[in-house]
Symmetry: C2
Subunit: 221 residues, 2 copies
């Protein structure tokens, strides 16, 4: 049996809030009251405050001194800017994955591609996007760059949040999208950083445009 590294309350609370924000159960702009949340979760305010700091780094909440925390907005311009950055960082990660991957890294990459393909076939939108995030996780693993990994991990919840907001409309998109990942794996296997970079950029760009066109109803500005 594998014992957990005994997460402290900070991270547990952060995880809990993170999920609720991503799923839209907490709406943009909504205030998060420390006292109230502490009562609800049965912990003191200390861990709550630490959790809010964690979420601020992931851009899920906005922290204003002496005015507390609120769920961050999901504006068009934010989506725009997030994907601009994601395009560059994912492309960089892909190039690094091509260069630094060992043979062992290929196994999980191929496995997550299969998962993507399977979900696309079944039309299971929710799991499909989970599989895509998993793909990037293993790709980043292969890139052997902890700093880049962490930056991307910090941006991941925002990406998830955006995708969740447009999940309903994504069904027909699946099969068209799979091609990107099939190509990406092909070039990662072949060791071609330029084409792999290009494919991932194209995917992220496509994702960006889809998000911009399909989250309008959920967001503020």
């Amino acid at each position: 049996m594998k014992f957990k590294p005994l997460e402290n309350l900070d991270e547990q609370v952060a995880e809990y809030l993170s999920n609720r924000i991503i799923r839209g159960q907490l709406s943009p702009g909504e205030r998060i009251l420390e006292t109230k949340l502490a009562r609800e979760l049965g912990v003191s305010r200390g861990p709550i405050r630490a959790a809010l700091r964690i979420l601020e780094n992931k851009r899920l909440v906005k922290l204003v001194p002496r005015r507390g925390a609120q769920v961050s907005e999901l504006s068009v311009s934010f989506i725009d800017r997030l994907y601009d950055i994601l395009i560059e960082l994912l492309a960089l990660a892909t190039r690094k994955a091509v260069q630094n991957r060992t043979r062992k890294d290929l196994t999980p990459i191929r496995r997550s591609l299969s998962k993507i393909e399977a979900c696309a076939l079944k039309g299971d939108t929710y799991d499909y996007y989970n599989a895509i995030f998993e793909f990037f996780v293993v790709e980043i693993e292969a890139a052997k760059d902890p700093l880049l990994a962490r930056l991307l991990r910090d941006l991941e919840p925002s990406a998830r949040r955006i995708q969740f907001a447009s999940l309903a409309r994504r069904k027909e998109d699946l099969k068209r999208n799979v091609v990107y990942f099939q190509d990406a794996v092909k070039y990662i296997e072949a060791g071609d950083p330029i084409l792999a970079d290009k494919v991932i950029r194209a995917y992220a760009q496509n994702e960006k445009e889809f998000a911009l066109n399909n989250t309008r109803t959920h967001i503020k500005k």
Copy 2:
């Protein structure tokens, strides 16, 4: 007179520690004891812990659950990876600056170029690098992208730390470096994102190589 936004203790402590780490007054690997620091600064452990979370995001300290905080290491591979990311993000910021700048943005950009030139002429290495950071700050301001601005701001202390560690050897480098910024401003004024991108990439690449060759003595691995 301009009143401060009444910083809370969290940020003041973070600022204090940040400076000490950047200047090498706290050495890599050194533990930071909450209780001791709290006594030294005359505050309780609450703000200290919050400050440590802030510094963790800036990668200045490493936080291990139940084992406290220690000053992060400055390894060759970290420098390598940091600049890889900086190259992409600064290039992106530069392109955005070219596209989104107003006429008003040009004034501080030109002013900080003058400062760079003046410091290079005087051979004032320390202020020279301050001026360079200032240049990027105003450039990012012109790029009109708060998300990108924040990512870069989070990485800034690490870059400063690296540059501080190799400051002594940088004197002869100054005049050669100025050209990059003169060119960058030229292309920003002319509205040429491709060449501006290229210049900044070249600068950052150059900076990276210099750092890698001149911080060896200060770092661990």
